[in-house]
Symmetry: C2
């Protein structure tokens, strides 16, 4: 290990320890243990350009163990990414700083994905590797490998314990994602103590069972061994690689290294001094780094910039030789506005149907329309495509043999599916969707939250959206899931009532720039509504109105809109002035102006009934203290759907009766 | 295979096919493929007594692939469990029948766990095996193995793809749960087609990596091979066993066997006729079963009853020789009332603290008080015990070497942890708790829902309950999680404001008979509230009141109660009549009488402010159309907690200002 390499590795360590100490908060264990791995990778094996962090063909790096954020921030600072300054490091974990507690995508230049919830990065890396493989197949031409990069992900014992990593890696092995390289920081320590208390499995054997090449680095401080393993991993393009790197958590801090106490709290002023001594660090001043270290990183950065320059030259030639491919490239990477315009102007897209149809089926038709307009649409289901109606006909299945396929078979792995969908979106170039039964959206929740937090506009297709599931019973009947997603910031949940609203939901989803969207769709047929319109894009609108000021408002979504309309007929016949508000997307309605909201739900009208075959939770904002609910108050039951709707009070009679009781 | 065995196996197949056909709904694939496995297991290797389904020492059996419910119902019917009649089978999947679409615990006699969400059964089985191992250590004496049974679980490819099974089995291997036996129905078929499209891993090697003995049955119709494998599995007590049984989905139905179409829809009338022909089934009439088949099962049932009789005799001797153990047994299996009484009467349990303290720390003290009163309390954290404060001092760690330990180290596996907690509770004899950061409750959601659905009063300890998390930032700051759990039926979420309310929350949790409870606790210190009381058990109560009728109500929970009280002081000084309502458990408040609710929140009082450092979603029910919110509207940020509270408006000034704006 040369002097400059040693100094550079230790710069990462000391900067990390200093920042955590100054913040009096953070996780020094990972940065100290993994500094050599990260340095060797970023310096000698990864294609990236600090001057152009968004270079399309860069190698991707995800720090799955997001608590070790200072490892990443130190690297980004030393390489000069986004002008991440010494002051930024000094403001680690402070309000408004660029250096948040965990890496945040979109917040700090050079951060490829938000991590923190363990295992998430593993799933997103698989998604990025899938995107790379698919885009390479679509775009590469002889002598023009315009998409040709690796995806690296670094995580620890926690990431490997989380089920999501097994889900994601089992699929990665099946798909033979040869350019996915997983770096496993094996330090044998967890928060509660030695990993032996809960984790004695043979991780390498598990990964082999999944179809990975497995490699081992016995000494996590040995740059040569790390480099050799990375090169060996890169060389095997037939299967993903897994490099177990044996490290010591908190390496360099004599009082804490190898102990759980090194994980999640500052080392302490004295221990930071001891770290300097142990590493023979030449600078006493916190955050001080020898000039030659900066020179080392900036020299490397310049060399790396050349790689991009070469790629750009190649890409220019490619565009010249294949102008149609350039156009396609732009369609993939920057085509959202065109899609938006085309869909908006296409009357047939918004057309009402004549016969009753399930919204899942209508959604399936939309997908098979979108697939032509959006060649970069790629997605699938967690083994429920025939039920979710998510299959793109004629577009093939993405597999080890067919990288051109656009239909994903995620297997019964909802959580990894969602992380993979996020990864595909984060990669750039693709619009992805994922699907399962609405009740199993529960499994997707941790990663759906990351979609919202990262502002990744992934689309979720959730079918079988209520007790309309019928015979499968309460384990398969969503109740609280709609509230769960409505309560989540920056997430749109659409529950359309017919073809027009289903088109609106898809339009909203695929044109969204920063908000993920879930479509919540029926298993059973729904009657087309005469009053439905693309006003649905405002979240709620008047679908059926009385003359003059209403005295009663019936609010509903999805399958219950028809109930509201029919109840209105009965009540109108009795002389009541009734308005029906369709509310397919509560979240979007909340984003409207106060004026618009007042125009739909005038505050003076206090008689209000919410009708929805799911939990009433969250409707109170519109029902107020004087309204009423026709909703589900417990779990469902097993039986034919029609009987269930009757049994649980979703009848015109009950809605009418509930409204009458309001006076 | 003897004639009677063949007939009996086929009885399971034909009854299943008939019931599914009659319901015109259901999943024939699994029952047809797994009938021999289930028959051989229940007939010749499992200790159970149809006449006493709750026998404490019975072997446990969980059908993790819950969609194959007719397999279980057919067995239960043939063995005569709970008088499950032929008519009950005929009413499969009908509203109100005993034979719901998926097996439901507490609904059908003989069903040990509710299954349907794939992988769930795998996790619960691990929990049951842990319970068995612990209780055996606690209770068994020389010559008196009063707790000594196996736990069997049967699942398919879907269960193995779900991440929860990797989480649970990795822990099961670490813990060396020798009496856990997993039966893997390997039929190579998933809903979207061959498992090869998404699942080519070597499952046996994965299980070996986890530390399981692995066995293979090449022909799923070979009862002898199945029986031998089960006996081999039973014989190895040092590690759990995994038996891969190669089956054909839908076996016996020539048109569908081995195909995805066999999985989830009725075979069709003609195919059921073909099945009868293929199996040489002697009866034409649907649901008709030869007399000798019933005799075969009932003879077996009688023999099995003898095993319980022997156990009862042994248990009687045990009680005579160790009367103190009998008392302990009763304390474990039937001690809830005594706990309830003791806690209620113990004034020190309800005592207020003098100094500010975090509710997680107060909870830790309660746990260490409860552990003596409740020797059957057993639980732990997903590798966050030092932060969650869930460690029971002096009670040891449950491990391969120490079955007496009461502290569980679940590893970083929140989902499996929750399923395991459910399994420990379902087993009987234990009161279990699980713990993680509140934001990671997302990972627990699918199995927390099963707790609620099964009415299993598991306790969840969720700490770090808001932006009070501070520097770790938005990936670690819960926002919508409180709404997520409040929206779930039969689930109590407590967010206490001090020691008295924390005691109330734990009291409610451990005395609950049918409802799981989550405790949502702060990282940061909270000031003891003068007005707090065990009225908290009603979910909401007046913590600080004005004289006469209030004109303004401030509603808050947890860390925000102090804000409400201080804002009240300011507003009172201005002459406003203000009431402060502490609402630690919205769910329990909803369960109170209308009179009680009106007494706390009089409908006439329209000026209301909800104050809670989490999503406002769900508060509308109490805020109404005229109130206001001091809540979180987006994700949090990384920074010192105090700064975050100020930044996001959680200050006395802002609460006062918000209230003033109401007029």
């Amino acid at each position: 290990m040369s002097t400059i390499d040693t100094l550079s590795v230790n710069a990462i360590r000391v900067l990390s320890a200093d920042a955590i100490q100054k913040a009096n908060s953070g996780h020094p264990g990972l940065p100290l243990g993994c500094a050599p791995t990260a340095y060797e990778l970023w310096m000698n094996h990864m294609n990236h350009n600090p001057a152009d962090p968004k270079w399309a063909n860069r190698d991707r790096f995800i720090l799955s163990g997001g608590h070790g954020s200072m490892l990443l921030y130190s690297l980004l600072h030393l390489f000069g990414y986004g002008d991440l300054s010494k002051e930024d490091l000094m403001n680690f974990r402070q309000l408004g700083s660029k250096t948040a507690g965990h890496p945040e995508y979109g917040h700090t230049v050079g951060v490829e994905a938000t991590t923190g919830p363990l295992g998430a990065g593993m799933g997103m890396a698989v998604g990025m590797a899938i995107a790379e493989a698919h885009l390479a197949e679509v775009f590469n031409k002889e002598n023009y490998p315009v998409v040709d990069h690796y995806t690296f992900v670094l995580g620890g014992d926690g990431c490997m314990m989380e089920g999501i990593s097994s889900e994601a890696f089992s699929l990665a092995g099946t798909l033979g994602l040869g350019k996915l390289i997983v770096l496993y920081d094996s330090n044998q320590i967890s928060i509660e103590g030695s990993t032996d208390i809960a984790f004695t499995e043979n991780v390498q054997e598990r990964m082999q069972a999944f179809g990975f090449q497995t490699l081992t680095v016995e000494d996590g401080n040995d740059l040569t061994a790390i480099g050799n393993a990375i090169e060996e991993a890169k060389a095997d393009l037939s299967r993903p690689s897994f490099i177990m790197i044996k490290t010591q958590i908190g390496y360099g801090c004599p009082a804490k290294q190898g102990k759980a106490s090194a994980h999640g709290e500052p080392l302490g002023v004295e221990n930071v001094a001891e770290l300097r001594k142990f590493l023979e660090w030449p600078c006493e001043e916190p955050f001080e780094v020898p000039k030659e270290v900066y020179e080392n990183f900036s020299r490397a950065g310049e060399e790396k910039a050349e790689a991009e320059a070469e790629w750009k030259a190649m890409f220019a030639g490619y565009c010249e030789e294949y102008p149609e491919m350039e156009a396609l490239w732009n369609q993939y990477f920057d085509g959202k506005e065109a899609v938006k315009k085309a869909l908006w102007e296409d009357e047939s897209f918004w057309a009402q149907t004549e016969k009753p149809e399930a919204t899942r089926s209508l959604s399936g038709k939309v997908i098979n329309r979108l697939k032509d307009l959006m060649p970069n649409l790629m997605g699938g289901s967690a083994d429920l495509a025939p039920s979710n109606k998510t299959y793109m006909n004629g577009e093939g299945d993405f597999s080890k043999e067919n990288r051109a396929g656009r239909n994903m078979h995620f297997g019964v792995r909802e959580l990894a599916m969602t992380a993979i969908g996020n990864g595909m979106m984060l990669h750039g170039g693709l619009q992805s969707y994922v699907a399962t039964f609405f009740v199993f959206s529960d499994y997707t929740k941790p990663m759906a939250r990351l979609s919202a937090l990262m502002k990744t506009p992934l689309t979720f297709v959730f079918t079988h959206d209520s007790i309309g599931v019928g015979e499968d019973g309460p384990t398969h009947e969503p109740i609280e899931q709609l509230a769960m997603f409505r309560a989540m910031p920056n997430f749109h949940v659409f529950r359309p009532c017919d073809a027009v609203e289903t088109a609106s939901a898809w339009y909203s989803a695929v044109t969204s720039e920063t908000t993920p969207t879930a479509l919540v769709l029926t298993r059973q047929n729904l009657t087309p509504m005469a009053g439905s319109s693309r006003e649905a894009l405002k979240g709620a609108y008047v679908l059926d109105d009385c003359e003059g000021t209403p005295e009663l408002i019936l609010m509903a979504s999805g399958s219950e809109v028809e109930l509201a309309v029919k109840a209105k007929e009965v009540l109108s016949a009795e002389g009541k002035k009734v308005r029906v508000v369709s509310m397919p997307c509560m979240d979007l309605f909340e984003e409207q102006s106060e004026e618009y909201k007042e125009s739909i739900l005038p505050k003076a009208v206090r008689k209000r009934v919410a009708i929805e075959a799911l939990s009433d939770f969250g409707w109170g904002r519109y029902v107020g203290l004087d309204g009423a609910y026709v909703t589900m108050n417990g779990f469902g039951a097993s039986g034919p759907a029609k009987q269930l709707f009757e049994h649980f009070g979703f009848t015109v009679e009950n809605v009418v009766e509930t409204a009458r009781k309001l006076g």
